[in-house]
Subunit: 239 residues, 2 copies
Amino acid sequence: MNSVEVCFSPLLFEEFAKPNSIVVVVDIFRATSAIVTAFQYGAKSFIPVSTIEEARELATQGFLAGGERDGEVVAGFEFGNSPFSYMNEKIKGREIALTTTNGTRAINIAEKAEATVLIGSFLNLQALADYILTQGKDVVIFCAGWKNRFNMEDSLFAGALTNLLLTSGKFYSDCDSANASSLVYRTGRKNLMSFLKSCSHRKRLAHLNLEKDVAYCLQRDVTDVIPVLKDGRLVRLLP
Amino acid sequence: MNSVEVCFSPLLFEEFAKPNSIVVVVDIFRATSAIVTAFQYGAKSFIPVSTIEEARELATQGFLAGGERDGEVVAGFEFGNSPFSYMNEKIKGREIALTTTNGTRAINIAEKAEATVLIGSFLNLQALADYILTQGKDVVIFCAGWKNRFNMEDSLFAGALTNLLLTSGKFYSDCDSANASSLVYRTGRKNLMSFLKSCSHRKRLAHLNLEKDVAYCLQRDVTDVIPVLKDGRLVRLLP
């Protein structure tokens, strides 16, 4: 039996990091949903960077540059973190330098754990669960959250993945965060969008002003793509 | 309208700290439940200290010494963090130096926020809510958690208090942690004990091996006592 645990904030990750585990980084609105979409549409790799300056520097070396701060595309950048911006011929075979408010920072923190770092979203949920079930490793679901705080949508995803792993019989949970996430998901799963509207930070969701993006990011099993971090770059693990 | 927010871990508190707010520190199993009980039974004050050495030093100055690590009374200490140990004539009018794994550390962290720091538990829940509703201040419910992690019982309390504040119409929540806590509480409130047994960290609860303490700490509105932090000491604010 392997364990599944859920980390609610980048500030807590150190308590969860363990070598030889699988860490699933998730930032549903919208970094990890966008990354999964980009690979689905043919991107070759991502370099997740923490600062806008690093992304600009890589752009001068031939990378496409993606940047988002507080839900907005960074001025002068072609891509932000909307999945729709990556449904684009331009990204085929390209390497992309990406910096976002929460997601890329979480990926860079996860990298220090000497673990296998995968990228999760509702879009590749089942593929991710199927892959994890073949690996025989402990799993930490690392919610990027919102500016170091717990957020509802990442916890919903964490609960959905936790449930898939627990129902396989190959995983157990001694983690209250995983159990609370599972409860949140079971409460909201019939209609994720209306659940989030009823109980998530109203101003933040409204500020995103992205009904279309939010609806897209809540779709399940749109692709089998699983991005994995290798030597500081996200590449396509499967298929 | 005032805001209610919930902080799930001492490592996150810095994101929530704001001057002129009320911070309610909670460590249901069992530090804050024990502190409330001690005041109910006549204790004069508590000094929350972070180390066993500090508590030993204060014991030489005439304080009673309370200490708990990993659920056990510290060797040589008369009191731990069982509420029952404070239902005792010995504590009447006495000052107590207390150090626990999670609770006293959270109190010491909260102290830095220049806020009014109150001690919460199910035992004084309604009295606490009634007092807060007269104050017109923003509220942060600070869950001590378990070794920096989210735990279910503190979140249950946070949800119960959040609900009381929101239903007054004087408070709003734009905090996903508060909303998730509220959901957890609404799911578990009919039988907190069986809810916790079904979804909390099994080994930790079993390790506590304290069915009697756990049942006591889940009782609601046993007392109107509200402890408050003044100049590094917890004293009785009300009644």
